[in-house]
Every structure is written in structure tokens, then in C-alpha cells.
Symmetry: C2
Subunit: 455 residues, 2 copies
């Protein structure tokens, strides 16, 4: 008998699942409900549309709808699932074009409802010149606003990865930028001893940075637009605001269906992406993951995990045995000319978890010192001081940052010690690396500080 | 009692050992004998001196001699060790400046005698316009020759990494280049299905490639210089020859001292770099290593291993417990605008070892397809078809090649399966990688072809 598979959400996780099932050749009827008018867009590319590195935003659309329909997937754009009855195996769908609702029955359901940008709960948070950058339309709206209103001063709230990318994107339009961050350093997801270079780069590129005080009000002018930003002790004027405060998982529909929300505030699943409710799977930015270093349940909503989880959910829904292996929290960001990576735990995170931590921070040549373009890269690695197990790394530099971050991500997945990392046979050629790769320099330095160390 | 430690060879392995011992604070008198006039130069940088990417060759000298003498190391340049009596714990040293010899007694000895470039055993192999590129003086001699004689046509014999780097370096001087390789494809250390792009790049950059026939004669003119190259079926004229035929370990001194030479033709050691002879260690390009993928003893003389082995030897000679973990055969090379990496076993090598091999070759976006500068990268991964264990990878592209090669090197060291690689939490940001990293695309493709695969 043909399984009726319903998928709520037509972005990374949802479409990965749908594609996997369609490719499998299994006898299943797949229906995808997507409330917006687009499917499968590259959300992480939106800042580069704002910056005009990408001129045509449609290049961010990964696949045309026709690609999926040609694979036999019933992709329904502008169809929002507004209710879920897991007993009756039914969803209520609102057709946003005709404004009519209907009931759709499923045998198996995938919740891939994603996450939504956090809007600060202050006056003015929803004004017309306050922009989130999460959905396909968001960057188009921002670019249109800039072109129409020619703002001179912008404020970015939140010095997250996205906040920094947006500061750079707005600088490309010539705006004066103020970057407001409630924590005491930019990139609060990194250790403060690694973000000084990033802070300097932002300042060098003309960004005014205000740290340590959350925004308490977005002051609105007569037309309702935000015209100034207030913290407890400061006030500055601005012509537009971009939010970089992160996101929250979209769990309303799951809650309506009795699907468990775990301690992270996201949907809890098994490693085959099954929820506690029979016949209901979940994947992507709306679910939590297992952290491979700590074993803890975490919510780190990033694109690679969403795609992998979608694939695993698709496999599991048709009886396959694929499993999602969890995350180590790898992320990369370009901040003007600086490249930044982190993976695993920061020192701050490890200490907060009560671990005995050893760490080292070194600055070394990124490629052979004599090769044209050589410059310095800074590497911090963090290990368990008792067992010598590697816990994480943070890297800031101008070349080789993604590769070195990924090497540590691989080492973390394998449970390597600092000594194991020091032993890895990393490649050497003058245009690409020094003979002692900075990772090895750091590992050799850190090794003796941990108990299992060799002299 | 103060140990008298003698080190033969003042390059990567020898000076790493000397430095490690000096830094340790142990009570040891370290004497280093180096037959040339320089210590610790970056041999892999020599092609970039020839190409004039590096103008001052002295930047290739990693450390001044005074650095080592200030650490208490007795560094004797132009002192060649010509005999070894391991029973008497004595070396015979020739002072090449005064042409006098003396005997030096040691308690512990490190052989770090390196390797020498292979010169083809054909007529003309030692002519004045035939150049090896291995020692510090070699690139200086070649550049001087080019500047004095203004040659128009050069031949590079051997399409190895070095051969390709030298073809590029000579092209930078405007020479017409013929590249002669006895095997049927360039970069014979890689699978032939991965070298087509490299071949095309060489041709596009003006290199004439002759494959499949070894050189049988270097024809000499009246002044003794080589003026033409002959293979069995061809002859072409040239004004200079550069050799890229690889190297042989320098084992003569070891043999004189009764030190075991193993099946690879290099000195065999334990993982603490001890030889079979009491009180004698060896490290660097003159020793064999354990291959972490196969467990076999191999001779893969590369800089990172030499440096690590020197460090381990230094530790071991003063009673430390450091061990050298072996190699996986990682190497990187830039060929004009193309970047090439390999690690682990090629398919050819794995089949030659009798393994059941599964492999896949994919071409994918190197960074997000919509980000400026995006292009394609080609990844081949090789696995054991029975166990799904990862065996190796080869990567050719224009960005991200070193990092991705190093990720696989790390995965190989950890003994990961193809499924493990597909699970690694690699970083994603549009300027650096697509959301599905090419390594994950390849691993997802290869997984189902191996027995432990998941659907």
C-alpha cells in the first residue's frame, strides 16, 4: 500500500527528506507544505545579496519547484499547516492564496518547521525599518528599503555571525554602522581572548561597537520608523535596524500535536529523527541534536545539520537505518578580510560544564613564511586537562581557517586526544601551509599541559 | 654525567632533535655536523626561488646558525661525517674548509643524513646544465645559469610534484618546457583518472608533455652541455634539464656502522626512532615509516614527518617517551592555478595490495555556487569495499583543497569509515564551502557501495 507522507516545511530539511524518498524509488506519495512562496533557498547567502556580492537573489534558490514536481513530489507553496491532530493523522492546511482551509491525512509526517528570528521585546521592535535576515524575502525587502530611502546610519543589534555579516553588508552600501551587543565582546559564542582581532577588524572597517548593554528601546519617529536606539546609558540615532539576535525553533505545530519539546526548547528526536509520537518525525532548525563532545542535548540550528537530518528522516520514514551522528558545533564566518572558525567547546563553555580545562593560544604563520601573501593565524585549542581529550578549537586568520577548523571537527568526532592531533599527517606545501601546521604547533604546546601528555 | 650527543645532518630532523634537547634543559652536550654551509633551509621552497616568487633565497633559511649556538648547540657547518664506528662510539669528521679529519666520540648518535636526488643513469646525467633541486645551493645555481645563459628551451624529467613545480618555475622565466614522464600520466603517485585536469592545466600553461617513455640519453654538445633529450622513439632539443625523479635515502654512513637498512632501502627504526644499534637513533628523509592505513613499512620522505621524527628522536635520546605515529602519505602541490592533494592510498595502490576496493569520483561546487569566485572541485575517495573503512582521497580544484585533504588525513588517522566521514560536522559559510561539502557528497555517494553502508 502506498504510504502518504506529509512534510511540513519546504526548506533544507524538508526538501532533503522529500528528495531522498523520491530518489529511493519506494512506493510513497510525498506532499510538502511550504507556507512561503519559495522552497529550498540558501538562507546563509542572504547577507551576500544585501552586500551585492550576489546581484540576482534568485541564484539563492537551490532548486526550482519544477525539479521536485518532476520527481513526483507534490510541492505546495503558499500552503501553511495551521493545525495538527496526531490521533487522526491529519493536518489542517491553509491555502494562503485562496484563503481556504482543508484537511490532509497522512500515514507519516515530518515536521521541518524551521526557526524564526528573535525580535527584541522592546518598543519599536516591529517597526517598518527593523529587518530580520532569515527568509528569502527579507534581504530583498532590505535592499529595496536601502535603495528607496538611502539611509545614512544603520544599527545592527547582536554581534553574532549574522550580525557581523550584516554589518559588513551594510558598510558595502556606505552606511555608518553601529553594532550593539549586550555581551562584553563581539561573537559572544567565542572566547573573549579570541575576538580581539575580530573587534579590531570591525573597527578598522568603520564599525562603531557598543558592548555590554542590551538595547532597551527602539525610539520611533512620527512616521513610526525607528530613528534612534537606546541602551541603559546611551542613545544614538539611526535610519534602519538589522537584527542579529539569533532565532527560536518553530514548535507551535509540534506542541499542538503532543510532540515533546525538550530542555533546549526544540523538538526532541531519536537519532533516526523520530519524535515521541508514533508516525511523526522532525528535522532541521526545529529540532535539538546530540553534541558529540559532551553527549548533551543542544540546539545549534545550522544548515549542514538540517540537510543531514532531512536525509536521515527521509531514510527512516521509508524503513531505512540511517542515523544522524550529532553535531560538534562547527561554524565559520567571514568578517570583512578576516576568517573565523570554531568547533567543539570554547574554554568558557567547557568550564561552565565543570570540566578541568587546559588551553593554549598560539599565533603562527598561516602558510610558509617566505611565500608571497604569508600572514599570521591565531589558533586556540581546548582540551580536558585530565584525559588530554580534545574539546574544541577557535581559529582567526586570513587563510586556511575553514580547513583547519574542519580538521579539528574531524578530530573531535573521532574523540582524539591532543597528542593524536599532534600526530596527524597534515599536508605541507609552501603555498598552503608551513611545515609545522599551526594546529600542530598548538597541539605540541598544549600536550604537556595535560595529564596523558608525552614529554 | 653529561651525555655527548652527536647529530649527523643539520636540516629538518637533525635541528628539530637538537632544538628539542636544548629546550628540555637536560644536561647534554649536543654537536651537530652538517656537511654543507647551511642548516635548516626550506627545501620545498626552492622552486619558488627559481620562479622568483621569493627574491631573496636567504629567506628560505629557517634559522640563523647563531640561534642554535645561543641555545648551547655546537653547530659545525661544512663538517662532513665520513665514517662511523658504532663499537667505539666514534665518528670520523672531515672539516671541509681546512680539509682535515678528526675523530669525535659520542654517547648517543642521531643519523639525520637525509636523501639525495636521483640522477638518471644515462649519458649526460651529470652535465653542467642538468640541475637537481634539493639543496640550498641548487636553486641559486639554476637561477644563475638562467640569468647567464638565457636558455630558451628547458626539459623537466619526471612529472612528480617537484617536476611540476619546476615546470611552472621555468615557465615564469619564459622558457619553453617539455615535461618527460616515463609513466602513462602526470603525477604518477596519483590515480590516472584524477590527473587529467592537471595534464590540461600544464598544457594550457604552455607545457609540452611526453608520456610513457623513459629518457635514455641526454645528448651532449661540444662543450659537454646537454643539447637534446632522447627517449626510445623521440628526440627534442633543449638548453637545460631539471630532474624531478625523486630521491634516495642517504644510508652509506648507517651501513658503515652496521645499522639495519630495511626493505624500503631506508634505515629502519622503532617508533621512538631507535635503530638496531645501541646508542644510535635515526630520523628524517633517511628513515622508513609505518603507514597508518596499511601498517606497512614505507619510505615517504616529506618535511612534516622529518620534523616530527626529529622531535621524537630528541625526546627519546634524553629518556622521554614521545613516539612517532607514522604517516598516511599526505601531500599537496600547486600546479599553476590548480591545487592538488592526496592522502592515504590511491585506488591503484590499494588494488596492488590486494584489497577489495570501492571508490567514487565526484565534481561539486568548492564554495557556495552563488558566491563570487565559486568553481568546481573534484574529489575521489577510496574505501575498503568489505569493511567500509576509508583508505584515501585525492582532490583537485582551485580552493579548499588543502583543508579537505587534511580532513581526510585526520579521518584516516582515526580509522574512520566512509559513513563516519559522511557524519563529520564540517563548517559551512558561503565564502568557504557549500552546505554539502564536496567530501560529504563523495562520502554519501560511496557509502552504499560498501558493505557496512546505511541506506
Amino acid at each position: 500500500m502506498t504510504d502518504a507522507i506529509a512534510i511540513v516545511g519546504g526548506d533544507a530539511a524538508g526538501m532533503s527528506a522529500a528528495s531522498f524518498i523520491a530518489r529511493s524509488g519506494e512506493d510513497a506519495k510525498v506532499t510538502v507544505f511550504e507556507r512561503s512562496g519559495v522552497n529550498s533557498y540558501a538562507a546563509c547567502g542572504l547577507p551576500y545579496h544585501v552586500s551585492r556580492d550576489i546581484h540576482d537573489p534568485s541564484t539563492l534558490l537551490v532548486r526550482e519547484p519544477s525539479y521536485f514536481t518532476s520527481k513526483g513530489i507534490d510541492l505546495r507553496l503558499c500552503h501553511e499547516v495551521v493545525d495538527l491532530d496526531t490521533t487522526a493523522h491529519a493536518v489542517t492546511v491553509l491555502d494562503r492564496v485562496s484563503s481556504t482551509s482543508y484537511t490532509h491525512h497522512y500515514d507519516k509526517l515530518l515536521l521541518a518547521t524551521g526557526a524564526s528570528a528573535i525580535v527584541p521585546p522592546v518598543a519599536g521592535g516591529h517597526a517598518a525599518n527593523v529587518f530580520s535576515i532569515r527568509h528569502y524575502d527579507d534581504s530583498i525587502a532590505l535592499v529595496q528599503y536601502i535603495e528607496q530611502h538611502k539611509p545614512g546610519r544603520g544599527t545592527v543589534i547582536g554581534a553574532s555571525y549574522l550580525g557581523l555579516e550584516m554589518a559588513e553588508a551594510l558598510r558595502a552600501h556606505g552606511l555608518e554602522i553601529t553594532l550593539a551587543e549586550g555581551a562584553d565582546h563581539v561573537l559572544p559564542a567565542m572566547d573573549s581572548d579570541m575576538t580581539g582581532l575580530v573587534h579590531s577588524e570591525l573597527v578598522d572597517q568603520g564599525t562603531d561597537i557598543r558592548l555590554g548593554e542590551p538595547v532597551v528601546e527602539l525610539e520611533q519617529g512620527e512616521d513610526g520608523s525607528v530613528c534612534a536606539v537606546r541602551t541603559a546609558s546611551a542613545r544614538w540615532e539611526c535610519d534602519l535596524v538589522v537584527l542579529g539576535l539569533g532565532a527560536r525553533p518553530n514548535i507551535e505545530l509540534a506542541s499542538k500535536g503532543g510532540v515533546d519539546i525538550d530542555v533546549t526548547g526544540a523538538i526532541g528526536t531519536t537519532d533516526t529523527m523520530m519524535t515521541n509520537v508514533d508516525g511523526v518525525w522532525a528535522a532541521g532548525d526545529c529540532v535539538s541534536s546530540s553534541h558529540r563532545v559532551t553527549g548533551a542535548t543542544v540546539w545549534i540550528p545550522l544548515g549542514p545539520a538540517a540537510n543531514k537530518q532531512g536525509r536521515v528522516a527521509g531514510s527512516s520514514m521509508i524503513g531505512g537505518s540511517a542515523r544522524f551522528g550529532g553535531v560538534v558545533g562547527t561554524s565559520l564566518v567571514k568578517v570583512f578580510d578576516l576568517h573565523v572558525g570554531r568547533t567543539g567547546l570554547t574554554e568558557t563553555e567547557a568550564r561552565r560544564l565543570g570540566m578541568r580545562v587546559a588551553s593554549t593560544r598560539i599565533t603562527a604563520d598561516d602558510i610558509a613564511h617566505y611565500y608571497p601573501g604569508s600572514t599570521k593565524t591565531t589558533v586556540k585549542i581546548v582540551a580536558d586537562a585530565t584525559t588530554s581529550r580534545l574539546l574544541g578549537a577557535q581559529i582567526v586568520g586570513r587563510a586556511g581557517v575553514p580547513g583547519r577548523t574542519n580538521v579539528v571537527a574531524t578530530a573531535l568526532q573521532a574523540g582524539m586526544s591532543v597528542g593524536d592531533l599532534a600526530d596527524v599527517d597534515l599536508g605541507y606545501a609552501p603555498p598552503f601551509a608551513p611545515v609545522w601546521d599551526p594546529l600542530l604547533v598548538a597541539a605540541n604546546r598544549l600536550g604537556p599541559m595535560t595529564r596523558k601528555a608525552q614529554p
